[in-house]
Symmetry: C2
């Protein structure tokens, strides 16, 4: 069992304010694992034995049904995932695979639940995190049900634009195949959606996005805080 670098995960909002001894309890049973790219590390419907934390690399959460598959989220350092399953002691609702080479900290779910029982500060952090996750998924549902594919793309680009500090040019963080799945469309349809945004001043060359007419894109996309602001 590898010794883990506790500093990397201590800074996580989830653990930042909890008592040192309880944090020690958590990391005592923890271990770290290095995964190659494209490894399925979690499969939906299996028992949730560990709370996972991405320390390096990135992880794709996805789900399958009847031969189809859809991407639900991409997790980047330093963030936990499948907290709800861990706390509820319920099976995973999503599968997870590494997207690139990744370092993952695994905290045994029993330990997380045990500390949750005794550490009110930690419990409060869990609530905050869960409430945040819940609201993210609600936003995503609204996005899916209220907008067309092109509108979802337009608003996604605006969110990335904001994340890049408002620069005219920025990089897509996801390969297009994955982005398409995340936005709820096929790769072919994403290609066409990108073209459909050209009249609104959007140019995409490979993973490089240029927004030449911000105002026009805004007018088309009609972003709404209660859907598009991640901190809302």
């Amino acid at each position: 069992m590898k010794r883990i670098d506790t500093q990397e995960i201590r800074s996580l909002e989830l653990f930042r304010e909890m008592a040192d001894d309880n944090f020690e309890t958590l990391v005592r049973g923890a271990y770290i694992q290095n995964f190659p790219p494209q490894i399925e590390m979690i499969t939906e419907e299996e028992p949730s034995d560990f709370l996972h934390i991405v320390v390096e690399g990135s992880v794709e959460l996805f789900s399958s049904w009847n031969g189809r598959e859809t991407a639900l989220a991409t997790i980047r350092p330093v963030s936990s995932f499948i907290l709800a399953a861990t706390i509820k002691d319920a099976p995973y609702l999503m599968s997870a695979r590494t997207h690139e080479k990744s370092r993952i900290v695994l905290l045994p779910s029993v330990d997380v639940r045990a500390v949750f029982e005794v550490d009110h500060t930690f419990a409060r952090s869990v609530v905050t995190e869960l409430a945040h996750c819940y609201r993210s998924v609600v936003k995503s549902t609204k996005n899916l049900k209220l907008r067309t594919a092109i509108e979802r793309l337009a608003n996604y680009l605006l969110r990335q634009h904001a994340r890049a500090g408002g620069a005219t040019e920025f990089e897509l963080k996801l390969e297009k195949r994955l982005l398409a799945s995340y936005l709820g469309m096929t790769p072919e349809n994403l290609s066409r959606a990108i073209k459909a945004l050209q009249p609104y001043g959007v140019y995409v060359k490979n993973s490089r996005v240029t927004i030449s007419d911000f105002d026009q894109l805004i007018e088309f996309a009609k972003p709404l805080a209660s859907i598009d602001d991640p901190n809302y």
Copy 2:
């Protein structure tokens, strides 16, 4: 200010195990309100001043964007709604309107947060409830992204069938216009989807559903616990 019947809400999972004095604190500031049908009682993006509890009637949670509207859930007695917004002290993500004449208990959000801070048992219940809500929305997202409209209807009918104790005949609890919106389709499309399920032994007359060939419907719908089981 009306005196509220504390028994009605004390039985809620959220409050069942908490200390009596903390529950008293909660209901002291609470009040109850009777709403006529079709009244918008909550509007998204407004501050979440109260945790709401449906005691009688039913409430529709919905969201609007750019002239479109979609139903996100129907809340029936006795259940709370907008817990995440209350705990996070964040604006509502959804609007709410009464569907029928309804009695709603309103707990000031400040009180909920105050009790949450001091009562670990309550905090634990909040976590359980939030985790449950989160998982519900994830299931709903999977349902939306992985299935066609007809498949969503088929699985919805199977869930209602199970809820009705497995009876061959049961009633739709929602009017079709609302059901369509909830399932992410237009009313016209729902009408056609119902017809499309006839070859699989589904008959719908007004709000009465008959499932004459359960096995065939199962085979078509391919229900999955991690999408369709509400208690998963």
